[in-house]
């Protein structure tokens, strides 16, 4: 039962066992290590898939109840198997490659988008001592790994051979890079206080959650994160009623499922990063650390879903104005005020 509170110990035990097995089999130790790491990554991938399924179900249920309807109810108890059914349906769909598509790029785009989110995810500190990838530049790595998703979206838009896809992809890219800057600047205030880029150390440094010390930065982070993941009210690139679906209009079947998966993985990574930087990560009383992180991440994700049914979609020019003319100056003011206070103390 102790493993629930200290999952890192379980990993260490399994790791030792695996190494013993490697020695027993007479294989080089490196092979055991590599295999062990691969298993951890496989576990994270499976975890990713489960988390996304839960998120999709939660989003549909929350959306339903916010609009005074029930949401999915048919498949399984209260519709819990709805997402599983949808996944199977997407798996069984014919995967067409449109005649005008650039085939190589068209195939590669979903991989790029998903892997960028996945590589960012592995740097998240899930619990004390439970960090799949620990780098002393963890924060920079996480942000850098999450960015190539933009390139994947451009690839998808360009290679589809559909002018609306191209336009959607370009809009997505313009929006994502525009909100990247305030997002990074809002994190800067936290780094100035914590003086580290190593995520576990950053969590340890939070005597009080940084949302108390950096409320403005948290607000900027939240808005920029919603825009970064192309969600309402910033979903202009996908705008169902205007463009058909933006960059993934021409995608179907399993490849579309990957884009869908990536969107939620990116969302989860940004929310978990927000929880780690501003809400104290795994720290909390009673409950095990990883559960605290999930609870805090879930709280931020709930705000994401809440936004979707509260705000009407912005116009493209309003969106760019908000990013460059409101959030960016605010982020600079936040840095300067933080700097001034730190110098004066």
């Amino acid at each position: 039962m102790n493993y629930i509170y200290a999952p890192a110990e379980l990993i260490t035990r399994l790791h030792d066992g695996l190494l013993q097995l490697t020695v027993w089999a007479g294989l080089p130790l490196v092979l055991g290590e590599v295999f062990g790491t691969a298993l951890v990554m496989l576990g994270l991938f499976a975890g990713c898939a489960v988390v996304v399924m839960v998120l999709v179900y939660a989003e549909r249920k929350i959306a339903g109840h916010m609009q005074a309807r029930l949401g999915p109810m048919r498949v399984g108890w209260h519709g819990v198997l709805q997402v599983v059914a949808d996944t199977i349906k997407l798996l069984l769909k014919e995967t067409l490659i449109p005649g005008r598509a650039e085939r190589g790029l068209y195939r590669a785009a979903p991989y790029v988008v998903f892997l960028s989110g996945f590589l960012a995810l592995i740097a998240l500190p899930l619990d004390r001592d439970l960090v799949p990838l620990r780098l002393n530049l963890g924060l920079i790595y996480l942000l850098a790994a999450g960015t190539p998703g933009v390139i994947g979206i451009l690839m998808a838009g360009w290679s589809s051979g559909n002018k609306y896809s191209l336009l959607g992809g370009m809009r997505s890219a313009a929006q994502m890079i525009s909100y990247e800057v305030p997002l990074l600047l809002s994190i800067l205030g936290v780094v100035m206080i914590a003086q580290t880029l190593d995520l576990p150390t950053l969590v340890e440094a939070q005597r009080v959650p940084y949302i108390v010390l950096q409320p403005l930065a948290f607000l900027i982070f939240l808005v920029a994160a919603v825009a970064e993941t192309n969600r309402n009210p910033f979903d202009i690139p996908e705008a169902e009623s205007e463009l058909t679906a933006g960059f993934h209009t021409e995608y179907g079947g399993i490849r579309f499922a990957y884009f869908f998966l990536s969107e939620y993985v990116h969302m989860f990574v940004l929310s978990a990063l927000g929880a780690t930087l501003f809400l104290g990560g795994w720290r909390g009383p009673l409950l095990p650390g990883w559960l605290w992180l999930l609870v805090k991440t879930g709280a931020i994700l709930f705000v994401f879903f809440w936004f979707r049914w509260t705000f009407p979609r912005l116009r493209a020019d309003q969106l760019m104005d908000l990013g460059w003319k409101v959030l960016l100056p605010l982020a600079f003011i936040n840095i300067l005020v933080t700097g001034l206070i730190l110098v004066l103390i």
Partner: protein, 120 residues
Amino acid sequence: MEHVGPYTTIVIALAVGFLCLFAGVLISWLLSPHNPTPLKLEPYECGEPTVGPARVRLRTMFYLFALVFVIFDVEVIFLFPWAVAFRELGLFAFLEMLAFIGILLLGLAYAWRKGALTWR
């Protein structure tokens, strides 16, 4: 976990992620029907016949935003080491960075006045 170097871990994660996705595509390919007809392969434009090429010319504003983004993104990279060492360096670093950010804000104001940040 910790005996393989961190950068090897990234490569392993990349490989595992790729293989998992590829397995999914493979399974889907085995299970799903294959019946592409010329009509299915047309671009999806809500039933209208497609006019002109898909790679249309785009407005220059996309490139303007990309340029401004590059400037600010590089700036943020310069700001991160400064932020990490901020408390040790004290007032001097603060004033130095004030000048740096000031120059960049001047650039932002210039782009703003020139209308580079206006979506048209």
